[in-house]
């Protein structure tokens, strides 16, 4: 079943050479980078604003330069406003515009500098050429399954996934759970070890008693 690929070429004798052990930190970096947010939405908004502002300016200026102003914007009125009392730097109109510009700039700057939440959790691998990521739901599902398998746990209320931490809220019917918290934590840690999420996550367990 798995030999289809061999038909694709005539001399399939040569197999792929073993990958260089580029693993370790280079592989981790590649995995972290592969799933980082691309900032598509802020970029789309900014690009559309840029196109609209640029095109309006270009149309008005060029049409005025060649002698037949388009006047898409009623700029004689804007000019009168800007040259009059209402257009003083410290009047409310210009103040509002300046604040809006600064705020918009701050938002774009923020969008550009803050890494943003990736939708997938990168997994630790040993090659830069093979990068895996699992959805947040898949990841919390694995954590919750590991917690559920612990003796004494009757349910998992919530798994919260943070950048460096996983918080598991489990339920038990036992009145005195004893070392249950510790056992759940160990089970979840074992499953994380197998998955290898990047970056490493600490496990925190909260046990709630449920009357059953």
């Amino acid at each position: 079943m798995t030999t289809h690929a061999g038909h694709l070429r005539r001399s399939s004798a040569r197999t792929a050479p073993a990958k260089p052990a580029a693993g370790g930190r280079a592989a981790d970096r590649a995995a972290l980078r592969a799933f980082r947010s691309r900032r598509v939405w802020p970029a789309l908004v900014a690009a559309v604003l840029l196109v609209v502002a640029g095109a309006l300016t270009a149309i008005e200026v060029i049409s005025a330069l060649v002698g037949s102003p388009m006047k898409l914007i009623d700029y004689p009125r804007v000019t009168r406003w800007a040259a009059g009392g209402g257009g003083a730097w410290n009047a409310w109109g210009p103040l509002a515009i300046a604040s809006a510009l600064a705020l918009l700039g701050l938002i774009f700057l923020f969008a550009g500098l803050v890494p943003g939440r990736s939708r997938l959790v990168p997994l630790r691998g040993d090659s830069r050429d093979l990068v895996l990521g699992v959805t947040r739901r898949g990841f919390t599902g694995a954590v919750s399954a590991a917690a559920m398998e612990t003796d004494g746990v009757t349910g998992v209320r919530k798994v919260k996934l943070r950048r460096h931490k996983v918080v598991v809220r489990a339920e038990t019917g036992m009145r005195s759970p004893g070392d249950l918290e510790e056992r759940v934590r160990e089970a979840v840690e074992r499953s994380l070890e197998r998955l290898g999420p990047l970056p490493d996550r600490d496990v925190k367990v909260r046990i709630a008693h449920r009357e059953g």
Partner: protein
């Protein structure tokens, strides 16, 4: 995954943010009297500014040129969001002078898809070839059920599926990005 658009977005957003923040901040500072109360209560457009714009022959053409450049950049930026750098097909290196084998990307990806879909616990797989013919990259979307062992899945993709494809494509390596998606188990796949 197309990381080129990601870098463009990061840099352009940062620069645009800085420019807007600088302009807005300077205007606010002037309005709040950073350059003295007299300048704060001046109108935005004074006779001096208008005369300057009218006297300099280069002023309006320069403004027009800047506006055109910004518009073009904005369009390029928009288009970059949609570009996927998907590869339509690959030419295999010809052994004879006149022979040439062209493989469609669909034929290549179907093979990987079928293979991965046979792995235990996998519900479906989608493969896509990206990049350039010289340096192709593979993008895999794999949906799996709770029954799948992710560690085993990773090993099989990395040690069986991808190397086999590398051999078929006559490439030493094929950078691969795998997205694993958990889906509810499909009962029908348990019985073969």
């Amino acid at each position: 995954m197309d990381r080129r658009a990601a870098r463009l977005n990061r840099i352009a957003l940062t620069v645009l943010g800085l420019v807007l923040l600088g302009a807005g901040g300077a205007a606010l500072a002037r309005a709040l009297g950073a350059w003295g109360g007299g300048r704060a209560s001046e109108p935005l457009l004074t006779g001096q500014v208008r005369r300057f714009a009218a006297d300099q022959g280069w002023f309006w053409p320069l403004l027009a040129a800047i506006a055109v450049v910004l518009t073009l950049f904005g369009l390029y930026w928009l288009v970059a969001q949609g570009r996927s750098h998907r590869l339509p097909g690959l030419n295999l290196a010809p052994d004879d002078a006149d022979g040439k084998t062209r493989l469609s990307a669909g034929a290549i990806t179907n093979v990987v898809q079928d293979e991965i879909e046979e792995y235990p616990g996998v519900n479906g797989a989608r493969a896509r070839l990206m990049g350039t013919a010289d340096r192709p990259r593979l993008r895999l979307n794999v949906s799996y059920s709770h029954r799948a062992d992710l560690a085993a899945l990773r090993t099989r993709i990395g040690e069986e599926a991808v190397p086999r494809l590398c051999a078929a494509l006559e490439h030493d390596s094929l950078p691969t990005v795998v997205r694993l998606r958990l889906v509810p188990a499909k009962e029908s796949r348990t019985v073969v």
